[in-house]
Symmetry: C2
Subunit: 461 residues, 2 copies
């Protein structure tokens, strides 16, 4: 039995680890496009901030640790074609040599690629010009070289999503003057603007210049700097900097599977079922290149590292003949921006409406612990539920670091997983001690506020 | 419609608040035995440590805030008898005057009383002798006066449960030399000894002298000090101190309801159903005086402030004709001891066996966030599941303050509420960012460890 996993990031490595864990007699090969298997791409901003060093420590597991599990790694090796009927994978190594590898089962975890979002210049300008993306260790080394060798003083970050915000913090810590351009009306567009505004304020207070409603159209290079231009509130705008980082989202990397005959679905990602089967015989796929099953949305595209780990683990189990099913993602996400933590899970109103719900939302501000105990800090919690059925649809939380906001969103995520109502959250037996909570946890303070606004309790009296 | 709630603590006030919230036309009277309605008894240790001041700030709500909700408070008023057929409550005020109050619905939240655990002397010695319990604001003032007026240098705390540990910390911070006596083999006997030992070490490192397996038999008073004596590892022992605090548990305060004809059940607490009805017409009860419904244990006795809040809220709703049901407690608890946080939810093995389960447990140590990001700290997580069905039965967690341990136990609590399997926890979409978590959260690292030890996954290969 020979299992091949393509991809050295979350999905591929998780699949390989799971297969080796379940059956150490299985021969497992992982084909990795670069030299950096199992690196924590999510950790890259903390390398640039100087909080993580050396870069090697970003590896979830070292090469040696991976090999100790019994898997074989083929580094700097690019998968070029799948012969589905013949169960063969063609790979090309760094010398250009092509080899055919026979497999019994194949798991494709080729992930996603940085999007250019239609911005002119991003296709032609690159690291040598001072224009960067941040999606691989190669990108990391290129940006690192730029920072070290050319000592830029100013940076423009296009995009204010998770990586954009983390890099705004990192480059600010590193001493650069950062301008952050956001297309939408508020930063962190995965939150409702009223909560995104709290993140915006945190960026302001740390000296990041944030420009929202800025539609970037082009990046161009002059003799001395880079020029980012576009429209801001329908007027033209232009900003210059020594360095440009474009972090405007990703698109699924589907080329290999498409050529092998796989179907594309939501978000133009590869269609898989909950067992991570592509429909092509003996070919599984997982991670940022495939569609995401979501209990509230059905099949969507929602690339997240946590999901890639889960899907990879399931693919690895099923490739060995298991019967695991991906139970679905509810889109739980969290980001730290300077001293603030912002998290969400489930749906916001505009996402819930097309899914057939009647969402209504309420924002509460609740202390992380009893106000009388020193250090209590507010958490803003916006709860979205279905106004007709009372079903919990989603939650967004913003609180200071230290308020356990990241793990409070997990209670909402677990509740969503089980299809709870908003009112049902009050039934949960959550922990309480005055330095760390309240008899009704902040989570329940928020859901009870939603209840008061949106539920009429029937009593006889 | 006149609703009377007896008890100014969690259950009584929650009931009254809920009734007023649902129907502001309802006349609500709360009968409070002392002058301190809605005080946070759980916060008392932080008053003694000096972290909370003045003592008035321990009120969840002030007298004025309570009255602003429209409820009427009768302070320093003791409920002496219930005339069930006549729907009348006899109360005695501080002058000794007895009055009969007519009610349409009655909610009894008389709580619990400190246990003496059969220790001789605790019945006769009191605050004037330097022997204290800590269950009310009155107890608080007595201990405060002792500390202020007599400046004791040494204290013996009998008991190492939640309050005992918090008071060991508080009195240590206050400069007393504390000796903590624990009957069982390890402190915090609500945890397995291997996790309790971590708390023990924390006490040690802060200078608390901990003596486990110490069976206290008597407290006596000499001219100059108090003597606590008993047996330690089957040999007699004796310790002297300026102050003794006995915190050895509670017993339900059922006298009033018993005399009215209510039945006693688990833990000799008053029997109620999930609607908080006692079976006596128009008489509800809630809080530390009543039995606790538990999804894994059935009906038990497990007094907790969080449960009292929930039960009180349900009683308040149902007294108005509502149909709320108490969904059950899974016994979630957390305590901060110096810089350590210890939490549990669900069952430990010795609790699960009599309930018909086949429990097996595994302890994992997982970082609270990615090790490469500064400040990562280990959380010890002990997972108990049913070896035959894979059902999650309980979890115990001990981690440093700042590791979000208190809210990680909530994920386990929510999972228990839904009857999840241990393996199912890996399906939960928990949040991840390197400074605050891992792609598989520490919770999932622990459940996967349990799985590896106790689940055989069937694959074909």
């Amino acid at each position: 039995m020979h299992l091949i996993a393509i991809g050295g990031s979350d999905a591929g490595i998780s699949a390989a680890l799971r297969a080796r864990e379940l059956d150490p007699s299985v021969d497992v090969t992982v084909v990795v496009a670069d030299s950096y298997p199992n690196f924590s791409i999510c950790g890259i901003p903390y390398y640039f901030s100087g909080e993580v060093a050396p870069w090697q420590s970003l590896a979830h597991r070292t090469h040696a640790e991976l090999e100790a599990t019994g898997m074989r790694l083929r580094l700097d090796t690019f998968a070029t074609a799948i012969d589905v009927p013949g169960q063969r994978l063609t790979v090309r190594d760094s010398t250009g040599t092509e080899t055919d590898l026979r497999y019994d089962e194949l798991i494709v975890g080729t992930g996603a690629l940085p999007s250019a979002a239609g911005i002119a210049g991003l296709d032609t300008l690159g690291p040598d010009d001072g224009v960067h993306v941040l999606h691989s260790m190669g990108d990391t080394f290129a940006l690192d070289a730029h920072l070290t060798d050319r000592d830029p003083k100013t940076a423009i970050i296009i995009g204010a999503g998770y990586v954009g915000l983390e890099m705004a913090e990192a480059l600010t810590i590193r001493g650069l003057k950062v301008t952050q351009l956001q297309r939408g009306p508020e930063v962190l567009s995965t939150l409702d603007p009223e909560l995104g505004a709290l993140v915006h304020r945190e960026l302001d207070s740390h000296g990041v210049e944030v420009i929202t409603s800025a539609r970037v159209e082009a990046v161009t290079k002059t003799d001395h700097s880079l020029v980012v231009s576009g429209r801001h509130d329908d007027a033209p705008f232009e900003r210059t900097a020594d360095l440009v980082l474009a972090v405007v989202g990703v698109r699924p990397n589907t080329d290999l599977l498409q050529r092998a005959g796989a179907q594309l679905g939501a978000g133009r990602a590869v269609v898989v079922d909950e067992s991570m089967r592509t429909g092509l015989p003996h070919v599984f796929a997982a991670g940022d290149g495939v569609v995401t099953h979501h209990p509230l949305l059905g099949v969507t595209y929602l690339p997240l590292g946590t999901t890639a780990h889960k899907q990879g683990r399931i693919a690895g189990e099923n490739a060995l003949g298991g019967t695991a099913r991906f139970a679905g993602s509810v889109g739980t996400q969290v980001v730290k921006v300077f001293d603030l933590v912002a998290a969400r899970t489930g749906l916001r109103e505009h996402e819930a409406i097309p899914a057939g719900f009647s969402p209504v939302s309420t924002t509460a501000v609740a202390d992380d612990h009893k106000a009388y105990y020193p250090g209590a800090q507010p958490i803003s919690i916006r709860v979205t539920g279905d106004g007709e059925t009372g079903k919990l649809l989603g939650a967004q939380l913003v609180g200071a670091r230290g308020t356990e906001t990241a793990k409070r969103v997990d209670t909402f995520a677990t509740a969503l997983f089980h299809g709870m109502t908003v009112a049902g959250i009050s039934d949960l037996d959550l922990s309480y001690t005055p330095p760390l909570g309240s008899p009704w946890d902040a989570v329940q303070v928020a859901t009870q506020r939603w209840e008061r606004e949106h539920v009429k309790v029937e009593v006889r009296a």
